[in-house]
Symmetry: C2
Subunit: 396 residues, 2 copies
C-alpha cells in the first residue's frame, strides 16, 4: 500500500521532521505486509510499491492512537448513577459494585460481544492498539471469564488488544480485604495470569492500600505479569511511589501528586497515564500534566473507557480535553495519545510511523493534527489503517 | 415512513409522556410528506402507513438538534491562534479580523462550499435546523456575498438554515465605529436584509457598545429582521438588558450576568442561548445556566461554530459539556439543544416530535437520551431524518 497526498504526516520521530511530532509535509508512506517500509516526502517516494494506492488529498495523518487504559469487559450500564452524579452526588469507588453484579450475571459471550462493540467503536475513533482489563468479575471464575471475553476481541475491525488482570479492582461485598487479597494473589492469579500480560490494582481509599497493592503487583510479577496501577485518583495516596518501587510500566490517573510522587515517577521511569475524560465526567480537578512534563515524566493519554466514570472510547475527545484542561499543546496531546500510550505499554512497534513501525495510522479530515484539539467533538477520523489494511472508512 | 422499535422516544411534549422530554417507551413515529402524523406506543401504531419502515432495534430517538447560533460562512482557519491560546494567550474579539481578511479574499463559491461542508458535518452530528450568520465580510459587498453563500446551503444532506445579518460583528480596521455603524444601519442593511430573517450584533468591549447595538437592532427591525444579540460573553455589559428592551428572540453567550440581567431576560421573554463549547475552547467560566433555569428563562444550547473560539458543529458534544460544566441533567441539556433552540428561533414546527411537527429526528445508538451526555465524544448518531427523509446513516 502507498499512501500519498498527505498534507502533514506526524511520525513522532524527531529524526524525520521538526517538532515533537516529527512532521513531514507533502508526505507519503509505503507499507508492506503490515509494516511501514518507507516514509518521506512524496516527491521522493519509491516506485513500484505493490497494492492499493490511497490519495488522502492533503489531509493529515497521525499514528493510530494507543489507548493504554480501558475497561471494556462489563455488562449493564450506569446511566442512572451518571444522572445522579450530574445532580450532585460525588463519585466513590463503590459504584464499581453495580457493574460487578451485572457482569457476573452475564454470559461470557455477552461480555465478549459488549467488549467487541466498544473496541470497534474505539477503532472508528482512530484507536489501533488498546489495553483492557478484567475487574468487574471479582471471583476466580468471573475474572477468568472476563479475560476470556477480552481474548475474543480480535479481527480487522477492532484494535489490537493487550490484556490486564485487575482482580484487585475493588473488594467484593462477600470478602474481607485480607481474605480477598489472598484470593487475588493465589487462586485467582493462577487462573488469570495465563490470559494476561499485565497486572493492575486500584490503590485508593475505598479500594486497596499500599501493602495490599504491593502484594498484588508482586504476585503478578511472580507470574510474569508487568505492573500498572490506578493511583492518586481520588486523593493523595501511596500509589505513585509504589509504582516506582515495583517498576511499573505506568501509573494511571495521578490527579493528586506531591513533589515526592513526581520525583519517584521520574526516578522509576514510570509513564504517567492521564485520564482527562474520567476527570471531566466526575467533575474532578485536572491532573498536573505540565508539572509532570516539566519534570521529565513521559505522559500518556488514555480514555479510561468504563461504564462508571468515563464511558467514552474517543481518543480525539481525550486529546481535546487534555489541551483545554491540562494546558497541553495539540502536539503534546497527540504525542501523548500515540507515542505516550505506546511507552505505557512498553511497545516499540506502535505509536510512531518510522520505517519498521506497524502500519497503524489514522487519516484525519483536517489539514493539521492541531485540528484534533481545535475541532472538539467533531468526527474527524476519515480512515483507519490497522496492520497495513484499511480497517474503517467514514461515511462522510 | 414508519419508525418502529424505538426504545425511548423523546417528544419534548409533556402531554405525550413523563419528564421534561415527554418520553414514550417502546414507541413508533409515523411520517407523511415530511411531517409527523402519529406518535405513540408501537403497539398502538396505525396500520397501512405508506413508504419505508425503519426498525431502530431499541435505540432511542430525539428531535433533530436545533443549533440556533453558528458562523459557518468564512474562509481560512485559525489553528495558529488556537495553539497560541493553548499556550496562554487570552481570547480577544479582535481575532475575528484574521478571518475577515481571508473571507474577503475568497470567492462566493468558496464561501458557499465551506459553509456547506460544515453544514453537512452538523447534519451528521444530528442537527436538522441551524441558524448561521454573516459577519466576516464587513463591507457591503462581502456581507451580502456571505449571505448569498449561506443561501446556497440547501439540500438533503444539510440542515434547514435560517440566515442572520451580522454586519456588526466587529469594527473593521478601515472604519471608525460611528462611521461603521452608519454603514451597517444604512447601505449594508439595505443590501443584506432581503437575504436574512434576523439581525445580530456583537455587543461587547472591543466590538459594539449599548448605543451602537441598539441602533443596529432597530435598523434591522425597520427592515423586518428579528433581533438577536451576542451579549455578556467577555464581561458584564449592557447586552442582556438591551435584548429585553428591543424584544430580541435570543441573547447569546451570557457568561457574565447580574441579577438585573436575569430579571430582564425573564420579563422580556428572551431565550438565553448558551454556548458551552465557546467557553470550553476559550477556557472561560461557564454561563450561569442553573440560575437562568431557576429564574424561568428558556435556555437554548448552541454550538457557536466559528473558526476562532468554537470550531465544532457537534451538538452531542455541546450537550455533554452543558451537563458537566453547567450542572444540567441530560434531559435538561437535550431539551435545550432541541426545544430550546427552536424557541430561540421562534419556530414551533421543529424541536419537538408531536403530531404536526416537522419529521426531523435523530436515532441515537444508545438506549436513552442520557447517553448523549454519559458517552461524551462518541459518535452516537446512527441515523438522521430530515423532512421525513433519511438524510444520513452512520457507517458503524
Amino acid at each position: 500500500m502507498l499512501l500519498t497526498g498527505i498534507g502533514v504526516l506526524a511520525t513522532n520521530d524527531p529524526q524525520l521532521g521538526p517538532g515533537l511530532l516529527g512532521e513531514i509535509h507533502d508526505a507519503a508512506v509505503a507499507v508492506e505486509a503490515g509494516w511501514v517500509v518507507w516514509v518521506g516526502r512524496e516527491a521522493d517516494a519509491p516506485q513500484g510499491v505493490d497494492g492499493e494506492r490511497i490519495d488522502v488529498a492533503g489531509r493529515c495523518v497521525v499514528p493510530g492512537f494507543v489507548d493504554a487504559h480501558t475497561h471494556l469487559v462489563f455488562a449493564g450500564d450506569r446511566a442512572t448513577e451518571f444522572e445522579a452524579r450530574m445532580a450532585g452526588t460525588p463519585y466513590q469507588a463503590g459504584g464499581i459494585r453495580t457493574t460487578v453484579s451485572a457482569t457476573r450475571a452475564a454470559t461470557t459471550a455477552q461480555l465478549a460481544q459488549g467488549a467487541s462493540r466498544l473496541a470497534a467503536e474505539a477503532l472508528r475513533g482512530g484507536t489501533t492498539t488498546l489495553e483492557t482489563k478484567s475487574g468487574y468479575g471479582l471471583t476466580v471464575v468471573d475474572e477468568r471469564r472476563s479475560l476470556e471475553a477480552a481474548a475474543t476481541v480480535a479481527g480487522d475491525d477492532v484494535p489490537a488488544v493487550e490484556r490486564t488482570f485487575l482482580g484487585a479492582h475493588v473488594v467484593p461485598a462477600e470478602h474481607t480485604i485480607d481474605d480477598y487479597v489472598a484470593l487475588v494473589c493465589g487462586e485467582m492469579m493462577q487462573a488469570c495470569a495465563p490470559l494476561a500480560a499485565w497486572c493492575d490494582v486500584f490503590c485508593e481509599d475505598g479500594a486497596f492500600g499500599e501493602d495490599e497493592a504491593r502484594a498484588v503487583l508482586r504476585a503478578g510479577a511472580a507470574h510474569g505479569l508487568g505492573a500498572r496501577i490506578h493511583a492518586n485518583q481520588l486523593g493523595h495516596g501511596p500509589g505513585a511511589q509504589l509504582a516506582a518501587e515495583v517498576g511499573a510500566a505506568s501509573a494511571d490517573h495521578l490527579t493528586f501528586l506531591s513533589d515526592a510522587d513526581v520525583a519517584a515517577l521520574v526516578d522509576g521511569g514510570v509513564v504517567a497515564t492521564l485520564l482527562p475524560a474520567a476527570e471531566f465526567c466526575t467533575r474532578s480537578a485536572p491532573a498536573p500534566a505540565r508539572r509532570l512534563l516539566s519534570a521529565g515524566v513521559v505522559v500518556a493519554l488514555a480514555s479510561d473507557c468504563n461504564p462508571g466514570t468515563s464511558y467514552t472510547t474517543s481518543m480525539p475527545f481525550v486529546v481535546a480535553l487534555a489541551c483545554q484542561r491540562y494546558g497541553l499543546t495539540a502536539a503534546e496531546a497527540v504525542h501523548a495519545a500515540t507515542a505516550g500510550g505506546a511507552a505505557a505499554l512498553r511497545r516499540a512497534d506502535v505509536g510512531h510511523l518510522a520505517v519498521g513501525a506497524a502500519a497503524d495510522l489514522v487519516v484525519i479530515d483536517a489539514p493539521t493534527p492541531v485540528h484534533l484539539a481545535y475541532r472538539p467533538g467533531v468526527q474527524l477520523v476519515a480512515t483507519v489503517v490497522r496492520g497495513g489494511r484499511v480497517a474503517w472508512r467514514s461515511a462522510a
